[in-house]
């Protein structure tokens, strides 16, 4: 099917190549011939039609004509010479009439004047070769030469039109001025005035949807290393969730949602529900469209920011309904730069970043304090343990004291960290003429992480051409190859270092790393020989010194081909096809010397060391065809598009595990002795398809009254066979009030637009075969009479899309010629038919099945503010600010989510799950997905150092009960956003960008895990020594220091989460053009960006627990030749 479609798309595109071969010039050589045959020949050559009254040509004398590559006007003038006829070109028709019918022209002397001039880029001043010059509504009369100069002769009063790809049209009336200097404005600079929806480009002024458009340069300025964080700075409703676990790990993928979550996690996905972040936002990821085709989040994070032309965030239904089932979480449209014609231009960009680990949130004890704390915590009290007698404990203590006294005070935190230097070179070459333009880009980027040996290196190359055989046809092909190699640090989890005791030495007397630093005996309270177990403390640095690795490699090839065919000036047919193939391999080798195998059974010593190999192949084919209509008729402006698209994605994963490596040197999987014990190779193939047809229209009347409407009918393979297709739609209205006559007198207001939209969009983010009854073949399902297939679950063939209905209203208010622009927005999103598990009586043979049941709402407001605070010739200051607030509410839930709460209670209280002190999310109607669930606490009783709990019924108790858990606070901030300032002075530019949030709450896990529940055998937060209850009367935050029982989740640790971060400082200098031209440059700019410099928070908590955060400084040099 896909192939069939591809063929059609290509055929349709190619079909009218022949129609395009008309030329604009005429070559004629006739001794004596009739006027009629001359006209016929001209028609043949140019495609222009002739129009005249029937009898007009009768009795005209024959003509003698000799033309070579003459322009149409020249040809016509020559052929009508002495015929008493005149011509007039209207669109593609030449009207021939008697001269006496045009008295005015007859009477006026024709005054051809010769004019010359030069065409240049408005912003850069570069001259532009190959610019087309034509008479308005007439034919082309010339082009600029390679120096951008032109020389033409035209009638005075003619309107000349200069057109050039990538630039706005420029019109000028020929006056007596014979020396013109034409400046063309690049369309780039106009970008903030249009919205790119991926299917249409609509003037922002006439658009009722909610969209934010950002240029690649703006984004790069803010954060050259992290595109997603940069987007967040411009629109806080695009929320990159804090990843407290993975900090600034270059290999970690962020979690993102736009305007809140719209999907619930699956119950089978228990690990996800119960993870510390509580909500797996993979379900709520927006769709990323790169040059018209959907790509993965991974692809976006690996994108070369220099290649980005613009990023558009589409948020409400009016903007996203054409994306149908992919739109519920918003759509991010990314376009890359297209080559610009002109002489060969080379630009080169170099970046050097320094990333330094940020450990300011860590406060651990030093060696002496740590040992003192251990003593206080009773670690050397023989009465508290059966694993040691008092003499042994004393020996242990003095051995450690000896270390402390001899000066061992290892700062473990910094041991596996480094300052990482990232380098990036990218080159872009572009050139060509009006007909054929090309661009070639190359990138080399190494991005080491702040943990030793962790990195992510990206290499990419791309080629991009556009072929424009006539003004009607445009072919574009873009091919890119990207190789990304990632390495996870063999030094392990950062939290291991945080927990290491400072009195442990790293090396022995010889300076060699010690593997087993210490061990202790633990009473497991089991009977028999297993009662006392030895636990080892391994040196994590030793792991890093081994040959172990954990790497991934991804090779991706993308080819996108498109044909634009202008059927008429207002009607364009466009067809696109893209192919995205990627292959990822993962290799994880654990050295046989690793601590993992330290206490391996003595009969299995030859099975030490392991290797896991995984391979994933993904192929996505995406094709679409659209018919666009773009026309102004009187006061009415139409921008309509009708189209259809198909997407097919197939991925094929395989993995195997092996073990038994003889030594640390032979790391190839070929050296493995056996497959991993009790394991079998694994694999999975999944396929997803989608097809849809859509209409989207933007209409405006007098630029005042605006209407947007879109409709999409779409089918997806993921849905039940009974509900495979669904309609999506949206509509929006707007009013440009400032264009009304009554507003003309209000001088202060330069812009006032009111708009509102509503619509329905969907999402399909769940496993592909949920709607079918599937039989699974597991190789372990072997019965003595053959392989067995077992049914996996009940496939609900009525399963359908979850639909999100959105309402959005907004105002754009510009004051003082738009020096101040304020844009408030309000939205309400109601997701109906959430796909959730429904519990069944087990006697049906199934315990749950999937059904569309449950509603969730997101409501919020956003505010955008731009102020051009000061502006003069040399100096300007721009201030922008934004603010967002979102409230999420579970409106209706299925029965199984309610019973899931009981399972979560069990999980919470099960000591094996180690989640007793972590707030876990529950699902209750009326509550939010960001609610923090805990038992209410009144603090510590000064009398006895015990925590006082407030039970559900309002009574007080010292006993923590899981049944008293309730929502105690909401994690969603009252508001969050960014503030930034841009200051330009001559060739200098400085910008600052702050992020803030306030009014939300957070659960301070550090206070629980690292202070109250801290295991005294490991290093702990320094607050452990003060603020603890010791004697009656102590007013403290923490409970009795001698109370070693586990602290369960309580509201005591819920703290206000107010935050101010200086996310970015940017500095740039553009070298003076005159200066650099002498040394061969066109442009030369140096910039410096500092990211994540400063942070102040109302909550003091360890951040980046598995991988630390980093601060960075990037210096870049941008040169074009």
């Amino acid at each position: 099917m896909v192939m069939k479609l591809t063929t059609i798309l290509l055929l349709v595109g190619a079909m009218h190549l022949s129609a395009a071969s008309f030329s604009q010039t005429v070559t004629l050589s006739r001794r004596t011939t009739s006027l009629k045959s001359v006209f016929k020949e001209i028609k043949k050559q140019t495609g222009y039609f002739f129009f005249y009254k029937g009898q007009l040509l009768q009795g005209r004398p024959d003509v003698v004509i000799e033309l070579k590559n003459a322009s149409l006007t020249e040809a016509l003038s020559a052929s009508l010479k002495g015929q008493d006829l005149s011509f007039n070109i209207v669109n593609k028709t030449i009207v021939i009439s008697n001269k006496e019918n045009l008295p005015d022209q007859n009477n006026r002397p024709i005054s051809k004047i010769e004019i010359k001039g030069v065409v240049a880029d408005k912003s850069t001043g570069e001259t532009l070769p190959g610019v087309n010059i034509s008479i308005k509504n007439g034919s082309s009369i010339g082009m600029t030469n390679d120096k951008g100069e032109f020389r033409i002769s035209v009638d005075e009063g003619t309107i000349l039109v200069f057109s050039y790809v990538g630039y706005e049209l420029f019109e000028t009336k020929v006056t007596s001025n014979k020396n013109l200097s034409i400046k063309l404005a690049s369309k780039l600079t106009q970008m903030n005035d249009v919205v790119v929806t991926g299917y249409q480009t609509i003037k922002k002024e006439n658009y009722t949807g909610n969209a934010i458009t950002l240029s690649g340069d703006e984004l790069k300025k803010n954060n050259p290393q992290n595109l997603l964080k940069s987007i967040q700075s411009f629109d806080p409703s695009f929320k990159v969730l804090d990843n407290n676990l993975f900090g600034s790990d270059p290999n970690a993928l962020p979690k993102i949602n736009v305007r809140g979550a719209t999907a619930l996690p699956s119950i089978e996905d228990t690990e996800n529900i119960l993870d510390r972040n509580n909500l797996s936002s993979n379900y709520n990821l927006p769709a990323f469209m790169l040059d018209g085709f959907e790509v993965t989040l991974q692809k976006v994070t690996d994108l070369d920011i220099n290649r980005i032309e613009s990023v558009t965030l589409l948020k409400d239904a009016a903007a996203t309904a054409v994306y149908g089932s992919r739109a519920a979480n918003g759509v991010i449209v990314i376009t890359t730069k297209a080559p610009i014609a002109g002489k060969l231009q080379l630009s080169y960009n170099y970046e050097l970043s320094v990333n330094a680990p940020d450990l300011t949130d860590y406060h651990v004890l030093n060696a002496a304090d740590k040992l003192a704390y251990e003593k206080l915590a009773g670690l050397y009290d023989g009465g508290l343990t059966t694993a040691y007698n008092q003499d042994q404990l004393d020996a242990e203590y003095f051995a450690r004291l000896k270390n402390v006294a001899s000066g061992v005070d290892t700062y473990w935190l910094s041991q596996a960290l480094r300052n990482a230097y990232r380098q990036k070179h990218s080159i872009y070459v572009q050139g060509g003429d009006q007909k054929f333009r090309y661009g070639v880009d190359l990138r080399y980027e190494t991005q080491p992480g702040v943990m030793q040996k962790s990195d992510r290196n990206r290499y990419s190359g791309g080629m991009n051409f556009t072929y424009n055989p006539s003004s009607k046809l445009l072919f574009r092909n873009e091919i890119s190859i990207t190789q990304v190699n990632g390495n996870n640090s063999p030094y392990g989890d950062f939290s291991t270092y945080v927990r290491m005791n400072p009195y442990y030495p790293k090396t022995n007397q010889n300076g060699d790393l010690i593997q087993e630093i210490a061990n202790w005996r633990v009473d497991t309270h089991q009977n028999g020989p297993d009662q006392i177990k030895t636990t080892y403390v391994f040196n994590p640095l030793f792991e890093g010194s081994l040959a172990s690795f954990d790497k991934s490699s991804n090779l991706e090839l993308i080819d996108a081909f498109s044909v634009d065919w202008k059927l008429t000036p207002s009607l364009t047919f466009k067809s696109q096809i893209s192919l995205n193939k990627s292959k990822t391999t993962g290799d994880k080798f654990v050295s046989p010397l690793s601590s993992v195998f330290y206490a391996y059974a003595s009969d299995k010593l030859n099975n030490k060391g392991s290797y896991a190999l995984s391979e994933s192949d993904r192929l996505a084919i995406d094709g679409k065809a659209t018919l666009g209509y773009n026309k102004q008729i009187g006061d009415q402006y139409f921008n309509l598009v009708l189209g259809t698209n198909v997407v097919a994605v197939r991925s094929d994963d395989k993995f195997i595990e092996a073990q038994g490596f003889s030594n640390d040197r032979f790391t190839n999987i070929g050296f493995a002795r056996i497959y991993k014990e009790n394991s079998a190779p694994g694999g999975n193939v999944s396929e997803n398809r989608l097809a849809g047809a859509f209409f989207s229209g933007n209409y405006s009347f007098k630029n005042k009254y605006l209407l947007d409407a879109s409709f999409r009918y779409e089918g997806s393979s993921a849905f039940g066979s009974n509900k495979r297709f669904a309609p999506f739609w949206s509509t929006g209205i707007g009013w440009n009030m400032h264009k009304e006559p009554f507003m003309e007198n209000v001088k202060v207001v330069s812009q006032l637009r009111l708009k509102a939209s509503t619509g329905i969009v969907g999402s399909v983010s769940f496993p592909a075969y949920l709607s079918r009854s599937i039989y699974q073949y597991d190789p372990s399902n072997w019965y003595s009479t053959g392989l067995g297939a077992q049914v996996l679950g009940y496939g609900n063939s009525n399963l359908q899309w979850q639909k999100t209905k959105t309402y959005d209203v907004g105002i754009d208010l510009g004051l003082f010629k738009d020096r101040f622009v304020i844009s408030p927005r309000y939205y309400y999103k109601l997701t109906k038919g959430l796909i959730t598990d429904i519990d069944l009586s087990p006697s049906t043979g199934f315990t749950t099945y999937k059904e569309n049941l449950g509603d969730m709402a997101n409501e919020g407001y956003e505010l955008y503010l731009t102020a051009n605070a000061f502006r003069n010739k040399d100096f300007n200051i721009n201030i922008t600010g934004n603010l967002a607030h979102n409230v999420n509410t579970l409106v209706k839930l299925s029965n199984s989510l309610k019973t899931l709460n009981d399972k979560i209670d069990q999980y919470q209280t099960n000591p094996d799950k180690k989640a007793q002190s972590t707030p876990l999310l529950r699902y209750n109607e009326g509550q939010s997905l960001s609610a923090i669930y805990a038992v209410r606490s009144l603090g510590i009783d000064p009398e006895n150092g015990k925590e006082i709990f407030l039970k559900k019924d309002g009574t007080l108790s010292y006993v923590w009960d899981v049944k008293d858990i309730m929502p105690v606070a909401d994690g969603a901030p009252k508001a969050e956003g960014n503030l930034s300032a841009n200051i330009g002075f001559r060739n200098f530019m400085v910008s600052l960008s702050f992020y803030y949030r306030f009014g939300g709450y957070s659960y301070n896990q550090t206070l629980v895990d690292r202070i109250e529940n801290a295991d005294p055998r490991f290093n702990v937060d320094s607050r452990v020594l003060d603020q603890r209850w010791i004697k009656p009367g102590d007013q403290t935050f923490f409970k009795n220091i001698a109370d070693l029982s586990i602290t369960n989740v309580s509201s005591r640790f819920v703290q206000k989460d107010n935050l101010l971060e200086l996310r970015s400082i940017y500095l740039s200098y553009d070298f003076k053009r005159e200066l650099i031209k002498k040394i061969g440059f066109q442009n030369l700019r140096t910039t410096m960006t500092l990211n994540d410099i400063f942070r102040t928070s109302s909550i003091q908590m360890e951040r980046g627990t598995s991988y630390p955060f980093a601060r960075s400084l990037t210096v870049s040099l941008l040169a074009s030749f």
Binding site: M1, V2, K4, L5, I8, V12, G528, L567, F573, L627, T644, V646, A648, G683, N684, V685, S686, E687, N688, R689, A691, A693, G715, S717, S721, R724, A768, Y769, R772, S773, I774, Y775, Q776, Y777, S780, N781, W782, Y783, S784, T785, G786, L787, G788, A789, Q790, V791, Y794, G795, N796, I838, S841, P842, S843, T844, G845, F846, T847, Y849, N895, T899
Partner: protein, 487 residues
């Protein structure tokens, strides 16, 4: 022209759309796809057996777990096990296990029903007698599982046949099936078994004399000789004699002695299942030892995956389940007739312990580690020839005590017990003797509990504590989820 191209394009795109969106998964098979071939039906049936033989059901919970504990076969120091042995149905881990049994049973019944729902309309797909075999076995499995659920979650037929016990599920749907009474379920079980019997009667490959039961590596056996793997190892599947044997068991539960006797006799008189000979049972070479009376098994679940669990339960140092020496000596009547009982001599490993009482570890399921393999594969016995003898004995006692005592004595002779009962024994003494024999024979096989329930017998612990028979003891509580989510 241009318009037509576009219309044409749109038409082509949409006409094939439905098909385009209909993806057949590759690493799995959709239900519709599976049941389009005979192979698919076979795989679905094998899959059903895998489910029944899983550790949640007969490869664990229903063969050597709580039912066996409640029959007072072991002695525990662990508090939780003690509570199970004391019929404490409030113990959370016990409740969990009961819920697992319920859920897994109906899940496996569902697997069978998926087959039965479509098999008749696809009759044309099948070669030879595979239609009859698959349908017959599927019906028999459905009945077998429901009957065991009834023996756990229903009242006994004797006590309260009109108790609304549980649903007898025959369809695949998210709609719940209404509850049936004990006697209704019995009727449905019998109906399914009778239908299975009819289907398998003439065509089951186990019936002809050419099918010779024996150890896999035995010289005479033909159990692994069939060209089709699907038709080998009939005794690992619901073969004809298994259906008849199960009928005997069900009729006896219903106190229908005449039918119970005729069914049991049909199995006995087929002479298909030879008694195990002493040389095999006592073979000094562990590789050649029959630990389980393999040849006497009419039907057993193939459970290699339970091996690890069995090691944990019975054979590792300090296993989960073990009995005291006194307990085993009492069960096997060491003081009276049991001194030479083969089972006593072979099934237990005596672990001497200084200061503490000696303990007996069960050896029945012991699997030799490779390369020395057992004489037989690891199976969970479901129906045995010995049970047929005991059913025949119990069913014929009222009408013909002499014959009944003969059946009983025959069984005992093949267990090494020389002393025989006399025909003049009273009914209650006879039942008492039978109960003792059930306990010996089915140690670690969970049938003893059901016998107590069927006949309302006291349950007596090793410490002499007597539990009076009552529904509180014998009826498992229904899972809360079952009640909560009925529709």
């Amino acid at each position: 022209m241009k318009k037509y191209i576009f219309i044409l394009f749109t038409l082509i795109a949409f006409s094939s759309c439905k098909k385009f969106l209909d993806i057949q998964p590759e690493s799995e098979v959709s239900k519709e796809e599976l049941f389009t071939t005979e192979e698919g039906f076979k795989e679905a049936l094998n899959g059903a057996y895998v489910g029944f033989a899983s550790t949640n059901l007969y490869g664990g919970n229903l063969t050597f777990s709580n039912l066996d504990i409640m029959a007072q076969n072991y002695q525990f120091s662990d508090g939780n096990y003690q509570r199970i042995a004391a019929f404490d149905y409030t113990l959370p881990s016990f409740v969990d296990k009961i819920n697992t049994i319920w859920t897994s049973s109906y899940k496996s019944i569902g697997n069978v029903n998926q087959i039965l729902e479509v098999i008749d309309e696809r009759k044309g797909l099948f070669r030879d007698h595979n239609y009859e075999i698959i349908k017959g076995e599927a019906l028999a499995l459905r009945a077998y599982m429901h009957f065991d659920l009834l023996r756990m979650f229903g009242t006994s037929f004797k006590n309260n046949p009109s108790f609304k016990a549980m649903p007898y599920v025959t369809t695949v749907s998210t709609k719940t099936t209404p509850y049936s009474t004990v006697s209704e379920i019995m009727d449905k079980v019998i109906a399914d078994l009778q239908q299975a019997k009819t289907l398998l009667k003439t065509i089951d490959p186990i019936i002809p004399g050419t099918y010779v039961v024996g150890y896999p590596k035995g010289e005479k056996t033909t159990e692994l000789k069939n060209g089709s793997l699907f038709l080998q190892n009939r005794r690992h599947r619901m073969n004809y004699y298994a259906v008849v044997g199960e009928l005997a068991r069900v009729y006896l539960y219903k106190s229908d002695n005449a039918n119970a006797l005729s069914s049991a006799k049909e199995v006995i008189e087929s002479l298909k299942f030879p008694w195990t000979i002493k040389e095999d049972f006592f073979n000094a070479d562990v590789a050649k030892r029959d630990r389980i009376f393999y040849n006497e098994i009419l039907f057993g679940w193939f459970i290699p995956k339970s091996q690890d669990q069995l090691i944990g339960l019975f054979s590792r140092d300090n296993p989960d389940y073990s009995a005291t020496a006194d307990q085993i000596n009492a069960i096997y009547n060491l003081g009276t007739v049991g001194a030479d009982d083969w089972r006593y001599k072979q099934w237990f490993r005596i672990v001497k312990s200084a200061g503490n009482t000696d303990r007996f570890y069960l050896q029945k399921y012991l699997v030799n580690s490779s390369p020395i393999e057992n004489l037989h594969p690891l199976v969970a016995p479901a129906l045995r020839l010995s049970e047929m003898y005991m059913i025949a004995a119990e069913a014929s006692f009222d009408t013909n005590p002499g014959v009944a005592v003969d059946y009983f004595n025959t069984l005992r002779t093949h267990r090494g017990i020389g002393a025989s009962l006399s025909a003049g024994i009273s009914k209650s003494d006879f039942i008492n003797e039978l109960e003792g024999e059930y306990r010996k024979e089915f140690y670690g096989e969970s049938q003893n509990f059901f016998m107590h329930k069927r006949l309302n017998l006291n349950i007596i612990t090793t410490t002499g504590l007597i539990y009076q028979p009552s529904d509180k003891l014998f009826v498992f509580p229904l899972p809360v989820d079952e009640q909560a989510y009925r529709n």
